[in-house]
């Protein structure tokens, strides 16, 4: 059976049936992104590796709980990964453990990854997201970055910005809505010029 072109939801259904090959393909599609986000939050490769491993083990055990009518698979998987990584980061902060900073030598993208089409799609998504983030109003981008990429809670963000909690929540909401609008706008523009 040719698995590579199968959409995520079909692969997840196979994982729920105990199909390891399907899990391997989902790993190829998403491990790099999950590892990178975990590294961004936790600042060291060992912890990022641990989170990535934990997420895929969790997927293996919980694939049957994913419901296609409740959103995209990647949203579900990234949400699990992000929550695990921020929980680990906050545990460290509570324990007063300093966050190690591993500086990546360089951005390493596997040109000959297991699924070149997928890698190309990831690069496109990355470019779109970076362009959209740049176009967000500063106060909205700031809270999105502090929350998602730095793992701060809404209360911590409010304290750091000396802003009321309600203002932070509003900026997050408006920031997400604006991000959606920007992504669509950039995507439409690129499609028109192609």
């Amino acid at each position: 059976m040719e698995y590579t072109p199968l959409p995520d939801q079909d692969l997840v259904a196979r994982i729920a049936q105990g199909d390891r090959e399907a899990l391997g393909l989902i790993y190829d599609r998403y491990a790099r992104v999950i590892y990178s986000v975990s590294f961004r939050l936790l600042g060291d490769r060992g912890a990022a590796e641990e989170i990535t491993q934990d997420v895929f083990l969790s997927l293996w055990l919980r694939a049957g709980t994913y419901q296609t009518d409740k959103g995209k698979f990647s949203t579900w998987l990234f949400s699990i990964a992000h929550n695990r990584a921020v929980d680990a980061l906050r545990r460290r902060r509570r324990e007063g453990t300093p966050t190690p900073i591993d500086t990546p030598d360089m951005e390493r993208i596997a040109a000959n990854g297991p699924d070149p089409a997928q890698q190309s799609a990831i690069m496109t998504d990355r470019r779109l997201v970076q362009q959209a983030l740049v176009k967000l109003p500063d106060p909205q981008r700031e809270v999105l970055v502090m929350a998602y990429y730095q793992g701060l809670t809404q209360v911590e963000i409010a304290n750091r910005l000396s802003a009321p909690l309600g203002t932070v929540k509003t900026r997050m909401r408006l920031g997400l809505l604006k991000l959606k609008e920007m992504l669509k706008s950039i995507n439409d523009e690129e499609n028109r010029t192609q």
Binding site: P104, M172, R173, L183
Partner: protein
């Protein structure tokens, strides 16, 4: 939680509108996520809104510089799952039973009259319903076991949190009405949120609950209601209107289900809001 029912304050849909963006961005702490998730489970419009925010937030992972994971990580993952056997759902459980049944039914009905075929069709329908029910049961059992594993993981996280030195621990002792009972209130710094862990308390009849009271200047504020499991233990997430350090004492009484505006039943636990100094 420790098998006891936990009664969490309800979040209104209006409040959810404010909190879903922070939720989608991972900006709620682990304990604040629970009531949001409970609301989403029960409220379709809020679940839809949560999905929309989460879909947008799921683009953010693509914004970070991409790094290759270690080359051997995939092998490690695959090795790990090989040691974690799933309880796989049968790939096609219905067809195998169906096919077996159909083969025998087909052989039986082929030479007979249409009326018999109709009877057979009813039998097929009944069997199909039975097979679907069987499959649903299997799915339910599997989901239950996954939920149990997830609960265990969350319990471990809660206890890991509780053992941190920065977490304040205030103790409650049993009264004459429940001399063996004890409890501990755990919270961080000047937080308004905490967790009450109790043990050795008597399970109550279905129309009664335990209710926590936070006392400040002789004013009693409800900290929530809870029931204990058959071993007498429970865990209650507490949201107080003021930092927990602002209260002088706390107590637990037995009240009718739903709780009371002020204590009416016997007090079973009490304690000053003073740090726990460790086991005697």
């Amino acid at each position: 939680m420790i098998n006891g029912r936990r009664h969490q304050p309800m979040i209104s849909c209006e409040d959810m509108g404010e909190i879903l963006a922070p939720y989608a961005l991972g900006a709620l702490d682990i304990l604040d996520r629970k009531p949001v998730e409970a609301h989403i489970q029960a409220c379709l419009p809020c679940a839809q809104l949560a999905r929309e925010y989460q879909e947008i937030a799921s683009s953010l992972p693509y914004g970070v510089p991409l790094l290759d994971p270690p080359a051997d990580l995939k092998e490690k993952v695959m090795g790990q799952i090989a040691m974690q056997p799933q309880t796989p759902l049968p790939t096609t459980p219905a067809p195998s039973r169906w096919q077996r049944f159909w083969s025998s039914l087909d052989a039986l009905l082929r030479p007979r009259a249409v009326g018999i075929a109709l009877v057979g069709a009813v039998a097929v329908l009944a069997l199909t319903i039975w097979v679907i029910a069987l499959e649903t049961d299997l799915n339910s059992e599997r989901t239950a076991s996954q939920t149990l594993a997830e609960n265990l993981r969350q319990q471990q996280q809660t206890w890991a949190w509780a053992l941190l030195p920065a977490v304040r621990k205030y103790t409650l002792g049993g009264t004459d009405a429940a001399p063996r009972a004890w409890g501990t209130m755990l919270f961080e710094g000047t937080s308004q949120q905490g967790m009450l862990v109790v043990a050795d308390m008597a399970p109550l009849s279905g129309d009664k609950v335990y209710q926590l009271w936070l006392v400040q200047d002789n004013q009693r504020t409800s900290g929530g209601t809870f029931a204990v499991d058959t071993s007498g233990r429970a865990q209650l997430r507490v949201w107080a209107p003021q930092p927990l350090t602002a209260y002088q004492s706390m107590g637990v009484t037995i009240e009718p289900v739903g709780g009371s505006p002020g204590p009416t039943g016997p007090r079973v636990l009490r304690g000053p809001m003073q740090p726990w100094t460790g086991p005697n």
